[in-house]
């Protein structure tokens, strides 16, 4: 009988000295490790009782060999107490909160009772109570005299790392560890509970060590070098150090040495114990190896990416996996993977013997491990494993097989495996494929799945895993198979689809004029394995010919109807009627990726994933076969335009040269108006950049109008196969400006980039404009500039991947535990806290939507209308009644949209009924399923496109006076919940006359702009004779900002400043104390507010369709809301904290969504709004805006292990120990750490049973 136990929970606490001695098998006292024979010395750190590392030996304690012995702890008796570094801060706080003489908490009995009651009450009501402890501590620390014994308290200080100093009246006194310990001993259990310490698990005196546990040797194995020398583990070294000092200290104490000697040795012991625990503690110099290498001690073993948590517990190494280079294969399906025979013979699947498969398995066993297809192991019914490699009589074993046996056979065609490419940024980075065992040594995959894996074939490697259990295989087949991942949950459109040449080919096939004779037709039909009747040829004379459209039509279901627009010619519709391509061409918008409402998308949604997969498989094969017939090539010829075009381009460039000189002259003569907030150079550079980009655009337009539409480049660009029209411009017309950090290249030599130029040459050529096209070829200088620009791009990508990678990790950690519960709410897996009451507010899974939309009402009506006989339109009231009825069950938006569409189309009663029924059916189909790990999906959907976000992009608001940070840095800023955005910005719509009167609006803007007195000062001087301060003001600025004499006098009221008649000079009579401290006065004057709203640096009026709007640099919501003339309800700011403070948490949530959406939109990234909603709701569940990271959302997790596994592992564990926290191991992270299934998805299903014995325990778990 075997018992399986499982970990129910983990309680953290501090080991008491008694417990340490109790669990110890040996007292360690000798600093030596081994004797001359290499045998471990008893009572040494390698004492054989702690376990043994040698293969032949048996453990002195348990008698097992090193394989079976779990290891045993020893202990070291410390001669003097030593403070545990990890608890130094806790000890310090405890000492400050308790009486130095009686040990009671520094609160009166009344206060104690009040706090206790509050905590108990909050706990009973199930409300948060943690914050009370904080107030208790604050209150207690403030107390000067003990309310219990009347003792006066002294100030206590902590000198890092572990020294505690008491500042008595006679000066600072260092508290010895033993004194600290005795004080801690005096604190009663009841008082500790108020200080957030659980006395049952963690008495505070245990934080001062008197006994040190010695970990078993398995924790710190010694390794034998090739030279035969033994090399000890860092921990062993440290333990030896500790023992050495301990021994010396004990000798000195026994000999009665003078106290300074003992003190010094105590300090040394303290140092060694400190570094043994944490070698990176603040205030200590790290202990080093003889070679100068810093030792890796206990804390370092847990911490960081290479620490125990992240390296060994959160991620584990697995069996049944393979990795090799990938290569493409058009002949295998999208859901297949080609596995090399060599790998198939290494990986195995366990198959149970049944009467139905026994013969087949016997044959496999007969083949043995070295002949494919064979088997590697046989497991007998008694559990014994037989390795076939060592079996001589395979035939006999094969014949012995009968139900009850299990055969671990080679991987075969049709097996299911998981396929993965790192970095695994989203769900589609791991998908299930069906095995196809193939010759050669690479994994083969269909090109349509390159996109989700982000794979290419320049040497990429991929991993393969074989699910072993039947449950795992079934899950993989139902949930993870490629076809079930065609639609991306990030944006609700296909992420798997035809790419590159397939798109070109399908365009060529389906465009007007493509036709085939019977032989070609047969070839193409064979490619798609078509077995139905051959359609009527479209052309009958002189010989029967079929069009490409006809062939393509054979791929679609017969009842398929769809209309959409192609990428090639967006002005003309593509029409599919009854599965027949009637009009238009097939390209990226029909079968490609990232395009909603394509043929592929519709097939997957309306006909199921299986149909879509089959369609895609055939498209790929058809496209490939057609391209074999037709051929497709790309050469310089495709990039030539008529001679006139080149002449026109050079004319444009010459014109640009002239324009540049004109522009330069204008600037030199100061004739150009410089926008506010820009220097002259900036304005000039920005103008030049604009001029040059216009030049390239004009040149590009010429190319686009003159280039042959039959050019391969154009076909590829327009079908979406590869390249853009801009790429063609650069190849044919002009490459254009090269830039570094979005500026013209200007670094290099003094005032010039290269020595070929004159100093100060600002001409396009000298600053990196490439006049040549890629076809005409770059000259050496241009080549240099191009390389510089290219390098900038590479650097940018490298920086970006790092930043977005970390953002992704934080997002995952913050949202990892969110799942859909059975009632449709989004909850956390551990505490079952509600994050959303209905996922995405409508409960719809983006992957089951059309680009976020459940149903298009018009499409729905169009589909139903033909099935219904005509009649009188339904009354509006009838529809309204239906709306009321359905709003109870469905999201109001779709119901109302349908109602509006029905009214519009004058639908009959019957149609109305049917439409609403269909709507409900579709809605129910689109709902998220309980168990879905929506948090992870959200994190991936926001994190994965992070790498595509640009770094350092600014969006120029209005007429480029203001720049607003966008792209990745802004997204990070949002999820970081930074206090202030790096480019604070406000948008203030105006009301009433302000909105339509420019003068008034401008005046208001001037009123807003913050001006401090210092901004106006031109010169300051002191007249010592008269004792006055004379300040000369800058008239220009004053006029510009509309500051009057009155404003200044008002601002300087306190100083009684007098302003001259001309309003330019201010005189302040100085008092004597002011005279002595004139600089301080100047500082005070400098920051005086003269006019405007604090923090608003600049305000600009902009015209918009419904009146004038003021845009400001800097944000101050609170004050702006009090200024008349502004439409307060529509005031916008990008400072989320400010919104939370002024408008509340709900407004802040809306602001987070708005800002994140804005970043995504600006960058052209497609992320479903539901993901942003979930992110914002998670960031605001606690009532305040929380960061996605260690100080915010992750800190709120109840599980100790989950927090420790993310960041700041050690401190988290220490705090948990002091509090005696219990980890119930309910969240995903914890479950992974202990190696159990996670409670989301298919792991959510549990057995629910009422049982008397279980009742009580259940109740305890609920707490």
């Amino acid at each position: 009988m075997s018992y399986t136990a499982s970990i129910a929970a983990i309680r953290f606490g501090i080991l008491s000295p008694d417990l340490i001695r109790k669990m110890s098998v040996a007292e360690i006292s000798s600093p030596d490790t081994y004797d001359e024979d290499g045998m471990p010395i008893p009572t040494g750190v390698m004492d054989p009782r702690l376990g043994t590392l040698e293969p032949g030996q048996r453990c002195k304690t348990c008698g097992n060999t090193y394989l079976g012995c779990p290891g045993h702890f020893g202990h070291i008796e410390l001669p003097v107490p030593v403070i545990h570094v990890g608890f130094a801060k806790t000890i310090y706080e405890l000492l400050k909160c308790t009486c130095r003489s009686c040990g009671r908490i520094l609160l009166s009995e009344d206060q104690i009772n009040q706090f206790k009651e509050e905590i108990i009450r909050l706990q009973q009501q199930g409300r948060p109570y943690r914050h009370v402890f904080f107030r208790v501590k604050q209150r207690a620390m403030a107390e000067q005299v003990c309310p219990h014994c009347g003792e006066k308290q002294h100030k206590i200080e902590l000198e890092k790392p572990v020294t505690i100093v008491e500042v008595t009246d006679s000066g600072p006194v260092r508290l010895h560890a033993s004194t600290v310990r005795s004080r801690l001993e005096r604190i009663p259990d009841d008082d500790l509970k108020l200080l957030d310490i659980n006395p049952e698990t963690s008495r505070p005196e245990w934080m001062v060590l008197t006994v040190l546990p010695v970990p078993p040797v398995y924790v710190r194995p010694s390794i034998t070098l090739e030279s035969g020398f033994r090399s000890e583990d860092d921990l062993t070294h440290k333990l030896v150090d500790i023992l050495r000092v301990a021994q010396r200290l004990r000798e000195n104490i026994n000999a009665g040495s003078p106290s300074p000697v003992i003190a010094e040795l105590s300090d040394l012991l303290q140092y060694h114990v400190t570094t043994y625990i944490n070698n990176e503690a603040a205030g200590t110099s790290p202990a080093m190896h003889r070679s100068g290498r810093v030792l890796k001690t206990l804390a370092q073993r847990l911490k960081g990416k290479e620490g125990r948590f992240r390296l060994n517990l959160s991620g584990k190494r697995v069996d049944f996996s393979a990795r090799t280079v990938i290569s493409p294969d058009i002949n295998i399906g999208v859901n297949e993977v080609g596995v090399p025979v060599e790998i198939a013979m290494q990986l195995t699947v366990a198959e149970k013997v049944t009467i139905w498969n026994v013969e087949r398995l016997r044959q496999l066993v007969r083949n043995g491990p070295d002949k494919y297809p064979g088997a590697k192991y046989v497991i007998r019914p008694d559990g014994k494993r037989i390795r076939l490699k060592f079996v001589h009589d395979l035939e006999g074993l094969a014949n012995a097989l009968e139900p009850g046996y299990t055969v671990e056979r080679h991987l075969q065609n049709g097996d299911i495996v998981l396929f993965n490419r790192q970095p695994s940024l989203h769900r589609m980075s791991i998908m299930a494929h069906i095995v196809r065992v193939l010759p050669y040594r690479t994994f083969r995959l269909n090109l349509a799945v390159c996109t989700p894996y982000n794979a290419d074939f320049d040497g990429d490697e991929m991993n393969l895993h074989v699910p072993q259990s039947e449950e795992a295989q079934t899950e993989a087949r139902i949930l993870l198979l490629v076809q079930n991942n065609i639609i991306s949950p990030r944006y609700g459109a296909p992420i798997i689809g035809a790419i590159r040449d397939f798109l070109t080919s399908m365009y060529l096939l389906t465009r007007e004029g493509t036709s085939f004779n019977k032989r070609e037709m047969a070839q193409l039909l064979a490619a798609i394995k078509y077995s139905g009747p051959i359609p009527e040829p479209a052309i009958k004379k002189p010989e029967p010919r079929w069009t490409g459209k006809q062939i393509f039509s054979l791929l679609m279901p017969r009842d398929f109807n769809h209309t959409f627009r192609s990428s090639f010619d967006p002005n003309r519709p593509v029409v599919i009627r009854n599965g027949e391509l009637v009009e238009g061409v097939i390209d990226k918008n029909a079968i490609g990726i990232e395009k909603a409402n394509s043929i592929l998308h519709r097939l997957a949604r309306d006909y199921g994933n299986e149909v879509a997969r089959e369609f895609l498989d055939k498209v790929v094969r058809l496209a490939n076969t057609y391209l074999e017939i037709h051929g497709f090539t790309f050469s310089v010829e495709d990039l030539t335009v008529p001679r006139e075009a080149y002449e026109e381009i050079s004319r444009v460039l010459r014109q640009t040269e002239d324009d540049f000189l004109k522009l330069k002259a204008e600037y030199e003569r100061g004739k150009r108006e410089i926008p506010p907030g820009m220097t002259e150079t900036q304005a000039f550079e920005s103008d030049v950049l604009q001029l040059l980009s216009e030049a390239r655009d004009t040149a590009g337009r010429i190319v686009r109008s003159k280039i042959s539409q039959e050019s391969s480049a154009v076909i590829m660009a327009r079908t979406g196969a590869r390249g853009t029209l801009l790429n063609i411009d650069q190849m044919v017309a002009v490459v254009g400006q090269q830039s570094v950090r979005r500026e013209r290249i200007h670094r290099g030599f003094n005032d010039r980039v290269l020595t070929f130029f004159k100093k100060g040459d600002l001409s396009p050529r000298a600053r990196g404009f490439v006049y040549n096209s890629f076809v005409s070829g770059l000259d050496p200088i241009e080549f240099f500039f191009h390389a510089v620009g290219g390098r900038d791009g590479l650097v940018d990508t490298a920086v970006r991947t790092q930043q977005s990678g970390y953002m992704q990790r934080r997002l995952i950690n913050a949202l990892e535990s969110l799942y859909i519960d059975y009632d449709g709410t989004v909850r956390t897996a551990d505490e079952k806290r509600i994050i959303q009451f209905l996922y995405g507010e409508d409960g719809v899974d983006p992957a089951k939507s059309d680009h976020g939309i459940v149903v298009s009402p018009d499409a729905l009506i169009n589909k139903l209308a033909p099935t219904i006989r005509g009649g009188a339109p339904a009354k509006e009231e009838y529809i309204e009644e239906k709306v009321r009825e359905y709003c109870q069950r469905l999201p109001p938006k779709i119901v109302r949209e349908l109602a509006a569409a029905l009214k519009n189309s004058k639908a009959t009663r019957e149609l109305v009924d049917k439409a609403f029924e269909e709507l409900e059916r579709r809605y129910k189909e689109s709902r998220v399923e309980p168990g879905d790990a929506v948090g992870v999906i959200t994190a991936q959907s926001i994190g994965e496109p992070g790498t595509q976000l640009t770094l350092r992009t600014f969006h120029f608001a209005g007429v480029r006076e203001q720049s607003i940070l966008l792209g990745l840095p802004r997204l990070i800023e949002i999820v970081d919940a930074r206090r202030t955005p790096s480019t604070p910005f406000m948008r203030l719509p105006l009301t009433g006359e302000y909105a339509h009167n420019l003068a008034k609006a401008k005046k208001l803007a001037k009123q807003l702009q913050f001006t401090k007195f210092g901004d106006l000062v031109e010169e300051m001087s002191v007249n010592y004779k008269r004792g006055t301060l004379i300040i000369k003001l800058n008239r220009e600025i004053m006029e510009d900002r509309g500051i009057t004499k009155g404003d200044i006098e008002k601002a300087l009221k306190l100083f009684e400043g007098k302003v001259d008649e001309d309003g330019e000079t201010v005189t302040i009579k100085l008092k004597e104390d002011m005279l002595l401290n004139i600089n301080k006065l100047k500082e005070r004057l400098d920051v005086i507010k003269v006019k405007g709203v604090r923090k608003i640096k600049r305000a600009i009026v902009k015209q918009e369709k419904d009146g004038y709007v003021i845009e400001t640099e800097g944000s101050n919501l609170k004050e702006v809301l009090e200024i008349p003339g502004i439409d307060h309800a529509r005031v916008e700011t990008n400072d989320i904290y400010e919104i939370a403070e002024v408008l509340g948490i709900e407004a802040a949530r809306n602001a987070i969504i708005k800002e994140a959406k804005n970043v995504m939109r600006e960058q052209g990234l497609d992320v479903d709004i539901r993901h942003l909603l979930l992110l914002a709701d998670m960031m605001t569940v606690s009532g305040a805006v929380r960061q996605i990271g260690r100080h915010g959302v992750v800190k709120l997790k109840s599980s100790v292990l989950a927090r420790a596994a993310f960041e700041i592992s050690v401190q988290t564990l220490m705090d948990a120990a002091a509090r005696g926290e219990v980890d119930n191991l309910r969240g995903n992270v914890e479950r992974i750490l202990i190696g159990k299934e996670i409670p989301v998805g298919t792991g959510m299903v549990t057995l629910l049973m009422r049982h008397a014995a279980g009742q009580e325990e259940n109740q305890n778990n609920q707490q």
């Binding site: 948060p128 509600i834 409508d842 719809v844 009090e1122 529509r1130 408008l1143 509340g1144 809306n1150 305040a1184």
Partner: protein, 112 residues
């Protein structure tokens, strides 16, 4: 110090308070933005205090304790305007891009 939080007000009294809170909101909204109330701001959705009865029903429907609800701080400007107190549940009617309208609940707490 938190006081009186434990003692429950009579039902009628609380219902009245809910009403006055709503009234407050209305009053603030009606006169021509004078003074401007943050409740009118486009980012601020409608907040209401749930009655004792509704509160019970909600918690029962979801099978949770108030601690498991999203929080809203007692210091939140909207909570202050509504005059909600600790332990109250605020019903928030959000404008939703996906559903048209969405209901959210938050329990008033002192600190997160």
């Amino acid at each position: 110090m938190v006081k009186g939080d434990g003692k429950r007000m009579s039902k009628s009294k609380r219902a009245e308070r809910c009403k006055t809170a709503k009234k407050k909101e209305k009053e603030a909204a009606e006169p021509e933005a004078k003074p401007f109330s943050i409740l009118q701001h486009s980012l601020v959705p409608k907040h209401e205090i749930l009655s004792e009865e509704e509160k019970k029903q909600l918690l029962e429907r979801l099978g949770i304790t108030p601690q498991q609800l999203p929080y809203i701080l007692i210091t939140d400007p909207v909570v202050k305007l509504l005059g909600a107190k600790l332990g109250d549940i605020i019903k928030i009617t959000r404008e939703s891009e996906t559903a048209g309208e969405a209901i959210y609940y938050r329990v008033v707490v002192r600190e997160a």
